[in-house]
Structures are given as C-alpha cells and as structure tokens.
C-alpha cells in the first residue's frame, strides 16, 4: 500500500506539472496575488480604523484584513479542494480506477489537500508578506513562528472538514449548495473580515466551533498584538482539540460514506 508520504509528494509533483501547463491560469494566479497585495496597500490610506481600535485593540486594519485574506487562500484549499477533486474524478470516471487501488482514502484526500496547499503558497506568501510588513512594529520572530504554527494547525483542522465535504460528494454527488452555505458561515462567523468581537453572541457561539476562528485570532495576536477573543492558552487547547475531533470525524465519514456510495456505484449523477 502506498505510504501517505508518497501519496503527498506525488500529488505535489502532479499539481506542479498541471499548474505550469495551464500557462494563462498560472500567470494570472501570480498576478492576482500581487494585485490583492497592492490593493491592500492602497486601502491602508483610506480606512477609518477607530472601530477596529475599540474592538481588537489595534488600528491596523490593513494588516488585520490582509492576514485574514492570506488565511482564506489556505482555507479555500483545505475546505473545497478535495471535494472538487472528487467531483472531477466522478465526472471523468477516474474515480473508478482510483478507488480500485489499495491506498488509504483518508490519506489520499488529505495528501491531495496538502499538495494543493503547498502550491497555494503562490497566493498566501505575497498576502502574508504585505500583512507582516504592516505589523513590523509589533511582530517578533517568535510571534511570527507561533502565528504560522497556529495557522497550520487551523488549516489542518479545516482539511479534516474538507475530507468530510469530499465524502459527501462521494455519497450525494452534487453538493454545491452545501458548499455555499458553509462558505458564507466560514467567512462571516470566524472573524475573517470583521472583528469576531463585533458579532452577536449566538453567532459567536457558532464561530467558536470553527477552526479558523482561533487560528486567525492567534495569527493576529502574535503578529499584531491584538486582543485575543479568549486567553491564548485556551485558544491553543481548543485548536488542538478541534484537530483531534475533526480528524476522527473525517476518518469515520470517509469510511462510512464510501461504503454507502458503493451501494449505488461511484459514477457521477
């Protein structure tokens, strides 16, 4: 049986080949990330930061949003990449071949997500660089490392949710509306674009259950010295607890949903 490491590095190899062969898309992927980074620089001049200062303890909105957007580039990959891959494989019929092969479905999905996340550094790196430039007065090397670790753990948790979504594709085939519903929730309820502290209490309760909330909050805390939404120790514990619980859920989901999908066959309907 192929090892998770081999599934991962071969997926990276395949993704790099594919990415560079769709040349226009490849060029525009880089241009878009630079454009966003430039846009944020311009945005810095015009924004009223007083509200932000009252809620998160920093008036640096550009850094606040830029770090959020850089996070979002990984969030998109972690959550939707595997589902999109399965949908593609279902429509081309490739899934029949891949699922006749002896490898762990869980590691196949998570390796492919990780491979795509590596490539999405193309977008993540310029955005993060701009965000960090605006935090140069508050950030330290230790803070940067801790912020990145928090981001990685949070993205790893999201990849588990992505595995659950991919499993839903196996079972229900067309789940675009499910994606849309969760995407909205993930963008609004996690404090990605607006301060988490501004959300009404019922929405904050939902937000606490989402891995992005603590990942992003810790990244901003370490980079910008913002007010954390709860003591950082609790945020770290919550982050790792979410990773453990979601990993278990993802493994169970993919096993269960592959079994039920086999009742009807793995073709696209």
């Amino acid at each position: 049986m192929a090892s998770p490491l081999k599934l991962f590095y071969m997926a990276v190899w395949r993704e790099i080949l594919t990415l560079t062969r769709y040349k226009a898309n490849f060029v525009f992927e880089i241009l878009t990330s630079l454009l966003f980074a430039f846009g944020m620089l311009v945005f810095a001049v015009a924004f009223d930061v007083s509200v932000l200062g009252q809620t998160v303890g920093s008036t640096n909105y550009v850094a606040f949003v830029t770090l959020g957007l850089s996070f979002q580039s990984w969030q998109g990959i972690a959550l939707w990449n595997a589902a999109g891959r399965f949908q593609g494989e279902l429509s081309t019929g490739q899934i029949d071949y891949t699922f006749s092969c002896p490898f762990s479905r869980y590691w196949y999905v998570t390796s492919n997500i990780a491979a795509s996340a590596i490539l999405s550094i193309l977008f993540f790196a310029p955005m993060l660089s701009v965000g960090l430039w605006f935090t140069k007065e508050t950030i330290t090397m230790e803070g940067l490392l801790l912020g990145l670790v928090a981001t990685l753990v949070s993205v790893a948790s999201l990849a588990q949710l992505g595995t659950v979504f991919a499993s839903l594709v196996l079972r229900y085939r067309q789940v675009t509306a499910v994606f849309g519903f969760f995407n909205f929730a993930f963008q609004i309820l996690t404090g990605m674009l607006v301060p988490f502290q501004l959300l009404p209490l019922p929405l904050r309760v939902i937000g606490y259950g989402m891995p992005q909330t603590f990942g992003m909050d810790l990244l901003r805390y370490y980079a910008m010295r913002t007010k954390p939404i709860m003591p950082v120790e609790y945020e770290w514990i919550s982050l790792f607890a979410q990773l453990a619980i979601l990993s278990l859920l993802a493994k169970l989901a993919i096993v269960y949903l592959e079994r039920t999908a086999k009742e009807q066959g793995l073709h696209y309907i």
Binding site: L7, R14, T18, G93, Q94, S100, C101, P102, F103, L266
Partner: protein, 319 residues
Amino acid sequence: MGLGDAIVCQNLAKEYGGAKAVKALDDVSFSVAKREVFGLLGPNGAGKTTLVKIMATLLKATSGTAQVGGYDIDKEEGKVRSIIGYAGQDSERSAYFRLSVRENLVYFAHALRDVPIDAVKERISLVASAIGFSDRLDRHFIALSGGEKQLVIVMRAIMHDPEVCFLDEPSKSLDPVTARNVRTFLKSYAQEHGMTMLLTTHNMKEAEESCDRLAFINHGRLQFLGTPSEFKKRVTVKEIIEIGVPKLDGNVESKLLKIEGISNMTNEPNVRLYCDDAFKALSEVLAVLSSEGLKVPVRMVEPSLEDAFAFFLENDEAR
C-alpha cells in the same frame, strides 16, 4: 473455491434503488481458473459492468459472496485491490489531461499502486513497445485520439503486473487493427505473466480470439457458461447456407423458405438460410436459384459466435 480458481462468485445479486428497485444481477455463480482469459458476453444493460464493478470492490452486492485471488471482496477489499488491475467502461477521460502518457502512468503506478519508480519506467517501455505506443508516450493525454486514450487506460490496468485484471470493454473505440493488436498483446501477456483476465465485450471476434471460456448474461441472469465452441454449439440451428447477395426478390425468398429443413432467413450482411442439414437443403436451394436465373455465390458456413449471441438473446426475449 478450488485451489486453481482466481475468481469465484456465489449467488451474487444486485438491486439498485429503493421502492422501484431494479434487479441488475440475479443469483450469478461462476468461477474463473487462474491464468484463464474469461469473457462476459451480453447485450447492453445485461449486468456485465455491475458484475465487474462488484468484483473490483467498487460496488457492493445486495447478496451473495465472491472471492478474488482467494480474498473475500467484502471482508478483504484492501487485499483484493492490491492484486487486481481495472479498466472501466467509458474511461477515455479518466486520466490527467495535461500530463503526458508517461507521467500519467508513473503517477498511477507509483503513487497509487506503490510500484517502485524504476520498475514503473521499465514496464512503461515494455508495454508501450509491445502495443506500438512508444512514439506517443510523451504526448499529453488530452492530445490523444479516443482510441489512443483507451490504449493508455488498458496500459494503466496492467502497469503494476496484477494477478487478476478486469477489463470492461477494452477494445471499445479502437480501430480493428489496433483492437486486434491489443487482443494479441493481452492474451500473450496473460499467458507469459500468469495473469487471470476477465473482460466484458460485445465484440464476438474478441471473445472468440481471446477467451478460453465465456459466460453469457442477460437481464442479470447467467444463461451460459462454457468455451466459445460450446457456446456456438448451443445454437439449435446447426448449419447455415449463405448466399452472396444482401437481398433477394420476395418471390425467391418465399420459395427458399418453403424448402424442407430451412427454418429461418436473415439478410445481414448476406442472405443466410438456417437449417438442420445444410448439405441436404443445398441442392434444392441451388435449384430454386437456377430456376430464377440467379448466378450468385452459395456456400455452407458454420454458425459464428455472433449467431450464437443473437440466438441466446432471441430465446431469452421469447421466454
């Protein structure tokens, strides 16, 4: 399961759907010996693909059991997957379009089948050279014709040297010459490497040339199991007189059908008269043609697998 069996199916059944359930397989039992090339014949919707998918661990049977290579397809699906090769029907789009043929084969065999990279490269050269594909290995998959893509899918199915290979209509979309080359290659490959092969096909020539044994399946039921020659012998009409024209005048046709022993007539591609004793009927057929002033070639032919296929199908529909 016998010691020499690579595939054993026992009372397999499969129903799709809930309230309006469709029975795709109904109590199918058979076995395939190790190293045997086994053909599954049947019309569209007969249940062939369902059967192959169940054995390739892609679909769950409603009831019954099956073993592949001695492993239970339900309880030991990982072990089954490690010894099988699989090429599904309509797979011409089932590889990475922007990767070359070589890159696709490396990815599938090395990443998903855990074949060492050097062995993969060696096998790509070996297989591609055997089927005359070496000059196209570095072309992108998207740039290949439908038939060429199908060849890549067949190559992918055997790239890891499987013990048992399931090929669902492997010669679909192939031109006759390429189809023959692939048949010849697969047959000799199976013999040399001790591979058991189960293929589904509508192509009677393929079944006759490639398969040691056949199963005929229709409406999910197994209707025949035996060698291609036994299959042909099951046709109740033993002999055929073929007249070398596609159609005859209606008056001539009715005279021919009145000859004793002639039970039926078809005219695709040539006029064919089905009878119990062709030798006995031949002189009367010649007399009718002569009296009508027709100088056309006439010959006695053996029933083909195609005739047997049509016979089984008609008999099943009539039941």
